[in-house]
């Protein structure tokens, strides 16, 4: 695979604060074997998503091509390319949850939040909670035996 040489940008353009932070994160893992996924997780945890400028910084630190880093980012469902919504509701759509009504829960949840732009409803395939489904994760918190009423209750606890 072709690899771009180190970009000679350091002296030319001043780096943004975000760029600086991404660089520090990337450097923290750069000496490990196969550090790219670790770096992407850490950048997303810190900055909420992985922006194009982040990809360029990471590629530069790891001495990879931008295309290579971009290819990795785009392969995985977890990595987001744009900022997250204020709230995230993940519904398990896999078989064991479907056996106890996940298809209806998924449809009802999508409909419930259709009017709210600050809520992202995402499908997930299995949380490993398959004996106590339907399963959902509301703002990162896993729940079992979930009904649409539970989701509405959780929503009412959010400060708008």
């Amino acid at each position: 695979m072709a690899r771009a040489g180190r970009q000679q940008t350091e002296a030319l353009t001043p780096r943004s604060a975000r760029g600086e932070s991404v660089r520090v994160i990337a450097q923290r893992y750069a000496r490990e074997r196969g550090p790219l996924l670790e770096i992407l997780h850490a950048v997303q945890a810190e900055h909420g998503h992985i922006a194009d400028e982040d990809v360029a910084e990471i590629a530069d630190v790891l001495n990879l091509s931008v295309a290579e880093v971009h290819g990795t980012v785009s392969f995985y469902h977890d990595f987001r390319r744009s900022p997250a919504a204020d709230h995230e509701v993940q519904i398990c759509r896999a078989e064991a949850c479907q056996a106890v009504g996940a298809a209806d829960l998924w449809a009802a949840t999508e409909q419930h939040f259709a009017h709210r732009e600050d809520v992202e409803v995402r499908e997930v395939f299995c949380f490993g909670n398959c004996a106590l489904g339907p399963s959902a994760s509301i703002d990162g918190r896993l729940r079992g035996h979930v009904t649409i009423d539970d989701i509405a209750t959780a929503e009412s606890g959010w400060s708008r």
């Binding site: 074997r33 196969g34 550090p35 790219l36 996924l37 670790e38 992407l40 997780h41 290579e68 290819g71 990795t72 392969f75 995985y76 469902h77 977890d78 990595f79 896999a94 078989e95 064991a96 949850c97 479907q98 056996a99 106890v100 298809a103 997930v124 395939f125 299995c126 949380f127 490993g128 909670n129 398959c130 004996a131 106590l132 489904g133 399963s135 896993l142 729940r143 079992g144 035996h145």
Partner: protein
Amino acid sequence: MTTVWVPADSSARAVGADEVAAALAEVEGVTVRRNGTRGMLWREPLVEVETDRGRVGYASVAADGIPALLEAGMLSGADHETCIGVVDEDPWLTAQDRVSLVRIGLAEPTDIRAYEAQGGWAGLRRALDTDPTDVVEEVVTSGLRGRGGAGFPTGVKWRTVLQARQGGAEQAFVCCNLDEGDSGTFADRILAEADPFTLLEGMTIAAVTVGATEGYIYCRSEYPDAIARLRDAIAVATEHGYLGDDVAGSGRAFRLQVRVGAGAYICGEETSMLESLEGRRGEVRAKPPIPALRGLWDSPTVVNNLLSFAAIPMILADGGETYAARGVGRSRGTQIFQLAGNIARGGVFEAPLGITLRELVEDIGGGTRTGRPVRAVQVGGPLGAYLPADRLDVPMGYEELAEAGGMLGHGGLVVFDDTVDMARMARFAMEFCSVESCGKCTPCRIGSTRGVETIDRITSTPAGAEGRDQLFVLLEDLCATMTTGSLCAMGGLTPVPVRSALTHFPEDFGGSPR
């Protein structure tokens, strides 16, 4: 002071265990300790009170129900409608043959003293005192086959890596596959959360045997609790000298780290996992070369499922023959069955291979949670067959299930009642493949999308309408192409659930021409 145990398992937490623990911590005279789950998930949160008789359990406790339980005398182990008696004597537990799960739920998961007291590290000590070739032969003797799905003999895999190492390979790696993406499976998660040292011991035995000094646990990102628990356990084990530069005083090194996946089912396929560990897209590699010869960074690599590693400490401590004495046909030892979906008593049940599917679903699982008749059971994950209710007498073994058109996979059973629409499940199998395909081969990537469309056309075309029969022919052609033209089992086995739905439940497709 009365000690009360409340599981910190993520399924228990999903139904309120943290709230229960917090409420109990407020009660005077109570010390709350957090164990892993006992595996009886339908009873979570299962609170256990230490008494003179042993640990007495209270099932499905809710935080707001605690005052009433206290009133009833819970802290002295008094009877109550939710009381299940002494947990160790519970028939659901005593009916099991727990080899790998023997310690789950007993102690705090990272209490290394408790692990030692319960027989931990005996297998590692024996491995360190034994010639690596003999360790490998012990694992071969056990008959252990990979629990991740493919069922390849673990000892033979280790032998290949050891020989490559003895043949001059400079380095070898040991990797645990903790991607556990199959719906209906959670045994890896439960063990990692409840008894992480068993995994660490199994991996360390592998490492000292094949001469690996570095290892990775590749854990899916959907398991944050397991990730945190494993990282804690690695730190504790390192501090106590079981990992690091000098494993248990042997002078041999083994450094272990957890790496986190990023939401891709295909990264459970071992070569895709290796790509991902190396920091790339999780595209499947063509085999050969097999990972045992050229795995991580081209070095010989042991890749095993968590449950395969978890069987190893006992195999070394008690001998391969003791393990092999259990089982059926060429399926030796125990399997941790996971009872999931629409089931009354869901959880993990460890039993010798050979137990029938009907025993698991009806006797142990108690039938459906909804109380309606069982209509179908999907065995072995999303690439496994749907078996109808009249075919449940099959013994759970690799060959036995294959003969019945199914596969054991990772040991998950997903139960459906008679309201299931099997055309919808067949469509889902194709949809899942289209979403999770790594994209390397056309039959998988495009075929699955065509499969969804074709099933949609079948179910939206009235029975008897012209051209409808041709749609079934088209679907069968797609299945045949995917089966023969795919590089890995993702595309290759997706037709299995689809065809089993068509074969056993044609009425759900508005009647098929067959």
